[in-house]
């Protein structure tokens, strides 16, 4: 049976889909009638920031009190989203100095993550910081040290750690469902030039920050960081070395970052994570393949499917006086020659599927209320970030680089 319980530290099992619907209801907040109010501030309510706020508004007892952004039109957009006026600041320091916030969400461009997260932590608030955790290894370490030095909750935006089907599938993998995992292939292919519409040319670098090296680590950070986090999770460690390559193959529009990236991360025992991101072809979409000696797991934004390698001859245990006969069990699949297998796999049956961002946001508020540590904590963020940063450096240096050991 695939109905197993998953207990994860810091996250009430209620938010995990491995549980049935009734038990989720039963395990909801301690007092659903009057949950402890949580007042949020947000630094950087841009497109991702607004999506986070939308999800925080789906948690009982949460109010959005203040926002900080250098781009004024965001404030009206946020007010519309919330249905009420949110106090606005053009300087994040003024928001951090407020006395009426319990937690701060940081969703600014990557180059500012560490500065904003650390300022928010120094103010004594709990912090939800978007991934990739920080822009340089030194900044990553600074964030970790700051979190360790305090008692606040810090949760990093690796929301796939909260996806019920991913949690359940990886639990099966860790229990040996596909044997020893040797390779993970992560794809994030889109057909989209990544460029956001800009009302005025002067706003190009502000709104399209993802395309410029001053603010962004490109596709590896924006997309690869999620898959790298899943690889770290499955392999149980940080990568040891990174190699990457990239180019601008299609969008010759003045951008500084590559429009396609390929990376290989090396883990212990010869294990590898391979990452590919294209922006001119969406056939493959967003998916991961986890390859083990006994089978494969395909993970997508909605589901998890297992495939099994053809079985080998197995030896039966011998009884005294009985002849031992080797049998060959029927194969789960046996493609003709070396053709790819194109049939169905075994879909993981998950009773509850929820948008992982919704789960992650709710989990953050639950951790604030209960004091439990989040699943996606600073060290989860660190392990992904150092690989992203190193892979990006390797891309520029055109050689494999060692990933600094986590502190």
């Amino acid at each position: 049976m695939m109905n197993r319980r998953l207990f994860v530290q810091g996250l009430s099992a209620a938010t995990l889909a491995a549980k049935s619907m009734t038990s989720i209801a039963a395990m909801d907040v301690a007092d659903p009638a009057a949950p402890a109010p949580v007042r949020l501030g947000i630094i950087g309510p841009g497109s991702r920031g607004k999506e986070l706020i939308r999800n925080f508004l789906r948690v009982p007892g949460v109010t959005i009190v203040a926002a900080a952004d250098v781009y004024a039109p965001r404030f009206q957009e946020l007010n519309q989203l919330c249905g009420y006026a949110v106090a606005s600041h053009s300087d994040y320091r003024a928001l951090v100095d407020r006395k009426d916030l319990d937690a701060i969400v940081v969703a600014t461009p990557l180059s500012f993550h560490a500065e904003h997260v650390i300022a928010a932590l120094e103010s004594g608030r709990h912090v939800y910081g978007e991934k990739t955790m920080a822009f340089t290894v030194a900044e990553v370490n600074d964030v970790v040290k700051k979190v360790d030095a305090g008692k606040q909750i810090f949760q990093v935006g690796h929301q796939y750690r909260y996806a019920p089907w991913i949690r359940s599938a990886i639990d099966y993998v860790q229990r040996g469902e596909i044997g020893d995992v040797t390779h993970i292939y992560g794809y994030w292919h889109r057909n989209n030039d990544w460029r956001r519409p800009v009302p005025d040319p002067s706003l190009e670098r502000l709104i399209n920050w993802r395309l410029y090296n001053e603010y962004s680590l490109g596709l590896l950070a924006e997309l690869g960081s999620h898959h790298i986090d899943i690889a770290n999770w499955v392999f149980g460690e940080t990568a040891q070395a990174a190699y990457a390559t990239g180019s601008i193959a299609v969008y010759h529009d003045g951008r500084e970052n590559d429009d396609n990236v390929q990376a290989v991360l090396s883990y212990s025992k010869g294990r590898r994570f391979v990452f590919s991101s294209l922006t001119d072809n969406a056939e493959v979409g967003n998916q991961l393949w986890i390859y083990g000696t006994k089978g494969s797991l395909n993970l997508t934004l909605e589901d998890a499917e297992f495939f099994y390698e053809p079985k080998r001859a197995s030896q039966l245990p011998s009884k005294p006086g009985e002849k031992v006969k080797a049998i060959t069990a029927g194969a789960s699949y046996r493609p003709a020659g070396e053709m790819p297998y194109r049939g169905a796999g075994k879909r993981l049956d998950i009773p509850v599927t929820e948008d992982p961002t919704t789960t992650a946001c709710r989990a953050f508020i639950e951790c604030i209320r209960t004091g439990q540590k989040p699943v996606a904590d600073a060290r989860v963020g660190m392990r992904s970030a150092v690989s992203v940063i190193t892979a990006n450096q390797a891309l520029s240096a055109r050689r494999e680089l060692e990933v600094p050991a986590p502190i």
Binding site: I24, A25, L57, R58, G83, E354
Partner: protein, 351 residues
């Protein structure tokens, strides 16, 4: 074949005329060109025709618009288990579900139409749609026992909204399947319109699979966007031509989503009271200032029939409708505040 034929030729000709006129040298504004783009979402093809000064601006407006449509689909789709509406469907039977203001407002609008239409409009019909096979488009006839059992899992009055906490609860303590099919496309169109107005688009026609259309202003030099209402009883014939300007038009009909069993056509629009597909209705067309409202009303009036629809629409300002009931052989046409002539086809003679 499309139920509505958008005649843009007239608009294009007028646009070309106005463009060539500005070429004569006396021009203060940049000439606008007509751009067209399409995008699949919500099981339909959304299309936008808009006037823009150049390709780059048009692309930018189209991108913003279609991203918004995708966002609404991800919010409301009952085909996506990760949507917010699916989450509410699953959980509100066991505990009050806090939701975001947008979803809450949407549900308030849906329930308001249920109340005003005495339940003819009802977003809880999801399980009925499945029972009749419309969810997977296979078509089947459920037994009366099956339908009776589903009664406990349906009914708009089971939805309780608490505005002070922004929570949704199902007072029948059952999971329900909220199906936004009769109102969701209208809502998406309204959101696109709001976005395009913010961008100061001068004129546009937004269509959600042609079942809900909104006209922003009018094409340059014309009185409105021309829309032909098809005669559902006679393929290829136009029942009425309307010029839309700053308003929406929605249509409900049986011509595209139905199944036939034993020679009988079963329509995808269900009567929530009888739990059976609506009979003896061919098409409803409603014009109203909000696309959300015209979408819900085209659904509600299809269920209610001409007389009850006329009573309901009395209380709806700036709302007009054409209700076609009966059968293709014997259609009946009812105009409700409809400002344009109806070209009714006479009843077929029996020889």
């Amino acid at each position: 074949m499309p139920r509505l034929i958008q005649t843009l030729r007239a608009a294009a000709i007028l646009a070309a005329f106005s463009l060539s006129a500005t070429g004569s040298g006396i021009t203060q504004e940049k000439p606008l060109a007509l751009f067209h783009d399409v995008h699949r979402a919500m099981g339909s093809e959304f299309s936008i025709d808009l006037y823009a000064p150049n390709q780059e601006t048009a692309d930018r407006w189209m991108q913003l618009s279609f991203e918004e449509v995708d966002r609404i689909e991800a919010l409301l789709s009952n085909y996506q288990p990760t949507s917010e509406l699916s989450r509410i469907s699953r959980e509100a039977g066991t505990h009050p579900v806090t939701t975001d203001p947008e979803t809450f407002d949407f549900l308030q609008t849906a329930l308001s139409w249920s109340s005003r239409s005495d339940g003819a409009f009802d977003i809880t019909v999801g399980p009925l749609m499945r029972a009749w096979g419309f969810f997977f488009n296979h078509g089947r006839i459920p037994t009366e026992e099956e339908l009776l059992a589903l009664k406990k899992q349906t009914g708009w009055s089971n939805i309780h909204l608490d505005a002070s906490t922004r929570t949704v609860s199902f007072i029948n303590h059952s999971s329900m399947e909220l199906d936004p099919g009769g109102i969701g496309k209208g809502y998406a169109v309204d959101r696109v319109v709001a976005l395009l107005r913010q961008q100061h688009v001068s004129a546009a026609l937004i269509s959600a699979g042609s079942s809900t259309i909104y006209a922003i202003s009018a094409p340059p030099g014309s009185q409105g966007w021309p829309v032909n209402i098809a005669d559902p009883a006679h393929t290829g014939r136009t029942l009425s031509t309307i010029l839309l300007v700053d308003t929406s038009l929605s249509t409900s009909a049986c011509t595209e989503k139905f199944f036939i069993k034993d020679g009988h056509r079963y329509c995808h629009i269900l009567d929530p009271h009888t739990m059976h597909p609506v009979e003896n209705m061919l098409q409803t067309t409603v014009v109203a200032p909000s696309a959300t409202d015209s979408d819900a009303l085209s659904t509600a009036t299809f269920v209610m029939g001409p007389d009850a629809s006329a009573r309901l629409l009395q209380s709806c300002p700036q709302t007009e409708a054409v209700i076609v009931s009966g059968t293709p052989d014997s259609p009946r046409y009812r105009a409700i505040h409809w400002p344009y002539p109806l070209h009714e086809t006479k009843k077929k003679r029996e020889y």
